[in-house]
Subunit: 349 residues, 2 copies
């Protein structure tokens, strides 16, 4: 919940001679230096070396990942593009079985962006990085003309060190394995969609964006190499990750609709919007495939953490129907859960 603190109140924007991004802020000259020294570095509380960082030696294997973020709108209940960009890359590292260590941070800013918006985004970045214990070590800032971007795009790339227990690969998925989900589905996608459509629901729906490394570490410490596969179901949702896992492993997946965690407000919103929550994006959800014998311990481990209290076993890996995901519905029928061809909700992350 730290990520929802009122940054703009707790840390006011300094007095500046400019209140919007101008093309000159991307020049590499003294306006760029001013933007860095008066806005970006103070907000992140870092001393900037802008062109590259030298890291201390690490032992063991590393993970490396990248993600660009183009979410629209930039601000939404539960977060903004800043903490989303930090958490998204932390989570890609965590899904490799790695402990996130260092991040890079690269902005593409649109001319005219209010500095107050950038300030708020930077503070969300700082709090997300600080609370995850990762350092932002290198960065870049570009500016494009008004109408050639959309406010802010962010790229974060990350380096992590593999936990010794980690051996995560879809090829390790085998019949008998259990599929776990760490919490309720579809919160992030429904939050973005309802913001865009100007919808209000009775109960507040907020993005689930968070750092999943505490959950993946718990799982690996508890179950070790019995954790065969982990993934955060972002774009395309749970259905897409399960289809990819089934295809990569050559196994079938059997889902239980009644076991799928879903908040009632999100469920209601999905009905109104005509969306299947299985395909809606999440940003703070862990899907794990673990050996049958370890499933109960894995579930208990997830449920012991505040971010995993609603974790559930949602299905089983089977030898039948390889490459296919089949769901047993509430009324006992079965249907194929296929991969969506195109875009359900564009620019969700």
């Amino acid at each position: 919940m730290i990520a929802n603190a009122p940054f703009s109140l707790s840390c006011p924007l300094p007095e500046l001679s400019f209140d919007r991004i101008m093309l000159g802020h991307g020049s590499g000259g003294s306006m760029t230096r001013q933007l860095l020294d008066e806005v970006i570095f103070p907000a992140l509380d870092i001393q900037g070396e802008h062109d590259g960082a030298v890291l201390e030696p690490v032992t063991g294997r590393m993970a490396f990942t990248t993600d660009s973020f183009v979410v629209h709108p930039l601000f939404f209940p539960g977060g903004n593009i800043g903490d989303l960009a930090v958490n998204g890359t932390l989570n890609d590292l965590a899904m490799c079985g790695a402990q996130p260590r260092q991040l890079s941070l690269s902005f593409i800013l649109e001319e005219g962006l209010p500095i107050a918006d950038l300030w708020e985004i930077l503070h969300a970045i700082r709090i997300a990085a600080d609370s995850a214990g990762v350092a932002i070590v290198t960065g870049d800032t570009k500016v494009v003309e008004k109408g050639k971007g959309d406010g802010v795009f962010i790229n974060t790339s990350g380096i992590g060190t593999l936990l010794p227990e980690a051996n995560i690969h879809p090829r390790r998925i085998q019949p008998g394995d259990r599929i776990l989900l760490s919490g309720p589905m579809a919160r992030h996608g429904i939050t973005i969609m309802s913001q865009r459509q100007g919808l209000q629901f009775d109960a507040a729906v907020t993005s689930d964006t968070c750092n999943l490394f505490p959950l993946t570490r718990l799982l690996l410490e508890t179950c070790g190499k019995d954790v065969h596969f982990m993934r955060d179901p972002t774009r395309g949702g749970v259905a897409t990750v399960l289809n990819e896992a089934a295809l990569s492993s050559g196994t079938g997946i059997h889902l239980l609709e009644t076991a799928l965690p879903l908040d009632s407000a999100v469920e209601g919103a999905c009905e109104i919007l005509g969306l299947d929550p299985l395909y809606v994006a999440n940003e703070g959800l862990l899907l794990a495939v673990v050996a049958e014998a370890a499933a109960a311990a894995a579930l208990a481990a997830l449920q012991s953490h505040p971010d995993g209290q609603q974790a559930a076993i949602i299905g089983t890996v089977v030898a039948e129907h390889p490459g296919m995901v089949i769901m047993e519905s509430r009324i006992g029928g079965k249907r194929v859960v296929s991969m969506l061809p195109g875009e359900q909700l564009p620019r969700i992350c």
Copy 2:
């Protein structure tokens, strides 16, 4: 020159069911998979794992850097946004004294982008990475609506391993050091500018985009810890890098105008466009500050390489006028070379 080969002729675009980027290509669903499997992975000749890479252990210190590329136009004489994005990040690593090892590659594509353009960009990326001996190990692809981007934006982040001889920092710059430039100034910026303005010059002006690691390695192998500082003068040009170096080191810099390498076609174009070549961006130029005793060997090392044949010693670090760059002109006068406030040429990289 490999980077200028006619990729589109040598490696034709496969038959596809789509000829432009659609929003669905950013969905994370089967259209994304099709774009990856039928265009991006074949063009790069890689087997894709899209969410994170596990790297083998490295010994010693590492460098980590990031850059987003928004150059306009996407294609220009001497290169395109693809090889520019690879070379730019290779060069940031090289400037730390590192050998580039792995790259990430993240696209923000605008709806409607011709696939043929993406194909040509991907081939430039592949050739630049292959010829530098670096692996593209992880990636990401996002799509934004038409009018919310500008064709293609690319982020590359990179990991390298520090060469044992490397000890590069502006604080190591001291009076007596010599300043070397590896070749003629302003080629990249003038190329982009003339493309945008539709200008034609008598002699062809082409971007200097290239991988500078061969030059930095030569320099470090030859001069070791006598290499105090290296930087590629991109946005803001040679003047901006020298001003930053003077400020960071608390020294003064004395430049000799007659020593500055400059092609006559570029010089003529600068005159027509009213630009000072000292401020124009370069993408394949190395500026190095080395100890006085090592300067002759450093110059010979650079000149021994095809990309450094026109290298020159362009100035000296002095104890006088700390933080300032002063240039002795052709006619013997002196002027302050200050940092430009804003943008001379937007979206040069």
